[in-house]
Amino acid sequence: MLIIRCPYCEANRPEPEFRHAGAAHIVRPLDPSATTDAEWAEFLYHRDNPRGTVAERWRHIHGCGRFFNALRDTVSDRILSTYPAGQGRPE
């Protein structure tokens, strides 16, 4: 079980308090009518799925209820950092 730090509550909490919400920093096409099928597929379905560091969204559903992002190593499952939604991916 992961121990996750919510960047809003500034507290370490167990994984069942959170809901995973998929890969982070995926931007919805700005002009849907001008978006091709291939671009929609890229937005909706294609994922990096890296073996290494992943940026992912979590929601503190049994806490503050807010979305935030985390950097996590997908081999060790260690969370490297968590940061508020809207902030760019840290180096």
Partner: protein, 417 residues
């Protein structure tokens, strides 16, 4: 390859079993092949076998980073069934089930396929409606599937608790009698032995580190820990690591990899005559021939390559098992483990060509790939040999995520399939 028969068995028994030789060649890589399969799991080995046995492509290498059948083939709960909802799925899983029925004979290797029945429980009105919809769809397609009342379900599996006071009472069940289990290792070994005998090179401990493409973009071969191996056709059959391998060829996949757990109890005398699955409370259980109860748990919620999985996922499943089968409450669990499963958005596999000429992919079997091993290998071999998808594989093309022709078994099967 020395064929197994009663005569050879008797002969070896009288000689103290000193005459058995290794069942397949542990090959060293040649500089070039007609085709390379990346991944020596059940699906990869089956692909190589059918390439050699049915498609006349015998100059084939199967390249494996670990050892043969050491990934998800060794980690699954060996459930076999074909009662899927959509016609495309019914076609491929039923194709596979028909191959299972004769597989031991075809490979001359006992895969211990045991059609003991797969019973899927309904705990809610919604479950009942979904399972009955599956039953009707299956029967229209000529696939056996039948509805059991709670009493009939308990007669089929006497240790099932059908007390109406349960938190999730058993309201009925769908039963596919031809479903069952097989010996997972024997499937990998049987295909390896038969493929090796037809000339296929099985190369273990040889991780692929790159996929080389020519100036025209077409595949030229694979870079490995043991040097470059050339081939005009490369088939990637790497389950949870497919995204990583396809990235080497510059192809992004609609896949996410999750750890899926299973566990076994200490061995006991036969108590579980069939396979019981409950998607709603997420518990799968059967009993191996060794007597261990084989229990399948769920995936973790986050992507991972850790081959572990969180303990709370396994304990959720054990709570459900203890409620449904109170008689097993005092059993101890011997081992638990995780495998990395590659999950597609529609929970259906991807089989076929890719944007890279000469590169083929067979992946996305998610949490339910074992049952498909023979059928998957069979249609993928034909796809590689002809360069165009086998009719049964065609609907499962990678391109469906662009065209929108998804085969949505995710909604059909709830959590898992």
């Amino acid at each position: 390859m020395r064929r197994f028969s009663l005569a050879t068995l008797l002969r070896e028994a009288l000689r103290g079993h000193t005459g058995w030789a290794p069942q397949w060649r542990d090959a060293t890589p040649k500089p070039a092949y007609d085709a390379i399969i990346v991944g020596a799991g059940g699906h990869g080995l089956a692909t190589a076998y059918y390439l050699a046995a049915e498609c006349g492509v015998r100059n084939v290498a199967v390249v494996e980073k670990g050892w043969l059948g050491g990934g998800n083939t060794a980690r699954n709960t060996t459930i076999i069934r074909s009662n899927y909802l959509w016609e495309e799925s019914e076609a491929i899983y039923e194709h596979s089930l028909k191959l299972w029925e004769d597989l031991s004979h075809a490979l001359n290797y006992n895969t211990m396929y045991s059609p003991r029945g797969v019973m899927m429980l309904a705990h809610t009105v919604h479950d009942e409606q979904v399972l009955k919809r599956h039953i009707h769809a299956n029967r229209l397609a000529g696939i056996d599937n039948e509805w059991l009342s709670p009493r009939e379900a308990q007669e089929f599996c006497p240790i099932l608790n059908t007390d109406p006071a349960l938190r999730y009472p058993v309201l009925g069940a769908a039963l596919q009698r031809r479903g069952g289990v097989a010996r997972h290792d024997a499937v990998a070994w049987g295909y390896a032995r038969a493929a090796s005998a037809l000339g296929v090179d099985i190369i273990q401990n040889c991780a692929v580190t790159g996929i080389r493409r020519g100036a025209d973009g077409a595949v030229q071969g694979v870079e490995t820990e043991r040097g470059f191996i050339a081939a005009p056709q490369v088939g990637v059959v790497a389950a949870g690591h497919t995204s990583v391998l396809m990235a080497m060829a510059g192809v992004r996949m609609p896949l996410e990899s999750f750890p899926l757990q299973a566990l076994v109890s200490e061995p006991v005398k036969p108590v579980m005559p069939c396979v019981v699955m409950s998607n709603t409370i997420h518990a799968y259980i059967s009993q191996s021939d060794k007597g261990e109860l084989v229990i399948g748990a769920g995936t973790d919620v986050y992507t991972s390559y850790s081959q572990r999985g969180g303990l709370h996922i396994a304990s959720d499943t054990l709570e459900a098992i203890c409620e449904l089968f109170p008689t097993v409450r005092r059993l101890r669990m011997l081992r638990s483990w995780g495998g990395i499963v590659d999950v597609t958005p529609d929970r259906s596999p991807i089989i076929g060509t890719t944007p890279v000429p000469g590169l083929f992919v067979n992946c996305g079997w998610g949490t339910g790939g074992f049952k498909a091993t023979p059928g998957s290998g069979h249609v993928f071999a034909h796809t590689i040999a002809k360069g165009t998808p086998h009719p049964i594989a065609a609907p499962f093309a990678l391109d469906r995520f662009r065209t929108g022709r998804l085969i949505d078994e995710a909604a059909a099967a709830a959590v898992a399939h």
